[in-house]
């Protein structure tokens, strides 16, 4: 049927191709088709398709005489848009798209058909992966909405104007953390960037008054959200009442990985926020929502030991978080 040059070309073709006669018996096939089927069909005997077993995309068995090639021949029309799964004799499976096309003689009579099988196994795996990712995105968005809703519910006793301003600032803070989480593919957010994202707006004007010191380390997404909320409250408070509310106050933010404390099996990330040079702090503020965020929420969400003191010289906040709950990877690199 084919001369030698044509046969070589046929086998060199990087696509699975085979032909059948008017009764669907296989009359030729190339190397790539054998690779896809995992077997060599018997010429002029095996019918419709050279595969070992066939299945519909949903997993139901697909009899060979109902496969797209059989339909193309029986109905005398090309079949497009079909998908099927072939099982090889060794049990492995390949998801493919067939392109069966009837071949007619000069009189218009169907004398056979040619089929191209396109392996879409990888694409299918990717589609499944994408579906999982989208489900995860859905879950995380809903969670973020639930957190947002809880924040709104818990901001009590404010005037409408104050509520609107504070709520809007808090949402912006959450959005900044979320941007960082997504930009880092949900793996880990560099701590320096997380701190800076919550100082946005203050940072530009008062850059020389805020100092960040600590080894570069990546924060887990869930922890980044909790930590971001706390840093936002601290920055807001410092601007309104603390060391960033006047012209000369300073904030020192530093962190380190502390060795295991006595009786503990895990290292902790110790992060400090210390204010100096602001207006004198008088007494300890009464519990407000911001206070709850930097104290209770951090302690709860990150299993953190929180130390909060209102010294006359300025607010001092320190947290110690088990590294397993906060770090995406071991801290590397020199202090920045």
């Amino acid at each position: 049927m084919l001369n030698m040059l044509q046969a070589d070309l046929y086998d060199a073709l990087p696509a699975s191709v085979y032909t059948v006669d008017a009764e669907g018996r296989i009359t030729s096939y190339n190397r790539a088709a054998v690779d896809l089927w995992g077997r060599e069909p018997e010429l002029n005997s095996d019918q419709w398709c050279g595969s070992w077993r066939l299945f519909h995309p949903d997993g139901r068995p697909l009899p060979h005489d109902e496969c797209p090639m059989a339909i193309a021949l029986k109905e005398g029309r090309p079949v497009r848009g079909a998908e099927a799964i072939a099982e090889r004799p060794d049990g492995t499976r390949v998801h493919f798209e067939p392109y069966p096309t009837p071949v007619r003689d000069k009189g218009g009579r169907v004398v056979g058909a040619i089929n191209v099988l396109v392996d879409i196994t990888e694409r299918k795996a990717y589609e499944r992966h994408l579906k999982v990712v989208l489900g995860e995105v859905n879950h995380r968005s809903k969670n973020l909405l639930a957190v947002t809703k809880a924040i709104a519910d818990q901001m009590k006793g404010k005037s409408v104007r104050e509520f609107r301003n504070r709520f809007s600032e808090r949402i912006s803070g959450l959005a900044n953390s979320h941007d960082l989480i997504v930009n880092n593919d949900w793996h880990g957010v560099p701590l320096t960037e997380l701190v800076r994202s919550q100082l946005l707006g203050f940072d530009e004007i008062r850059r020389d008054r805020i100092r960040l010191t600590g080894p570069e380390c990546d924060i887990l997404p869930a922890a980044a959200q909790t930590l971001g909320m706390a840093l936002h409250e601290l920055a807001t408070n410092a601007t309104k009442h603390g060391s960033l509310s006047n012209a000369k106050g300073r904030v020192a933010i530093d962190w380190r990985i502390a060795p295991c404390a006595r009786g503990e099996t895990e290292k902790r990330l110790v992060l400090r926020w210390r204010e100096r040079g602001g207006p004198p702090v008088i007494g300890t503020p009464r519990g407000g929502y911001g206070l709850e965020v930097i104290d209770d929420f951090v302690a709860y969400g990150l299993d953190a030991q929180v130390t909060l003191s209102f010294k006359p010289t300025g607010l001092c906040w320190q947290i110690a978080v088990p590294v397993a709950l906060v770090l995406a990877a071991p801290a590397v690199g020199a202090p920045t």
């Binding site: 489900g135 639930a146 957190v147 519910d153 818990q154 869930a222 951090v298 709860y300």
Partner: protein, 116 residues
């Protein structure tokens, strides 16, 4: 009725705690992880539980399984759509996040009444 709350997000945990208290129930404990929930159940007990399906990226399944074993009724909270519940949540009420406090309140009442 003493209710165990298992939820990793602090603001949500607080909202649930308030709902439970307002509904006139006692809060047995509020814990953020599977480990802490199992530790609580080893030392103490409760009459009902509210479980976030996903805690810090891990499934709450082991806690649900323990509650099933002890025949303690529980309801789930999930950010995943309906039909994504782990096997132990079969036959349980699962509330989608973000949830309305009234919905949680009603589900909790339904959960608590047949047991008592």
């Amino acid at each position: 009725v003493r209710v165990l709350i298992v939820e990793d997000e602090a603001p949500i945990a607080k909202a649930i705690r308030e709902t439970v208290s307002l509904a006139g129930h006692a809060v047995a404990a509020v814990v953020p992880s599977v480990t802490a929930a199992l530790a609580f159940l080893r030392a103490d007990s409760c009459d009902a539980a509210i479980l976030d399906v996903n805690l810090r990226g891990e499934s709450v399944e082991p806690v649900a399984a323990e509650l099933v074993l002890r025949q303690i009724p529980f309801l789930g909270l999930t950010g995943y759509g309906a039909g994504h519940h782990p096997p132990s949540f079969r036959g349980c009420v699962v509330i989608a996040k973000p949830f309305d406090i009234d919905v949680l309140d009603q589900a909790l009442s339904a959960l608590a009444s047949p047991a008592k």
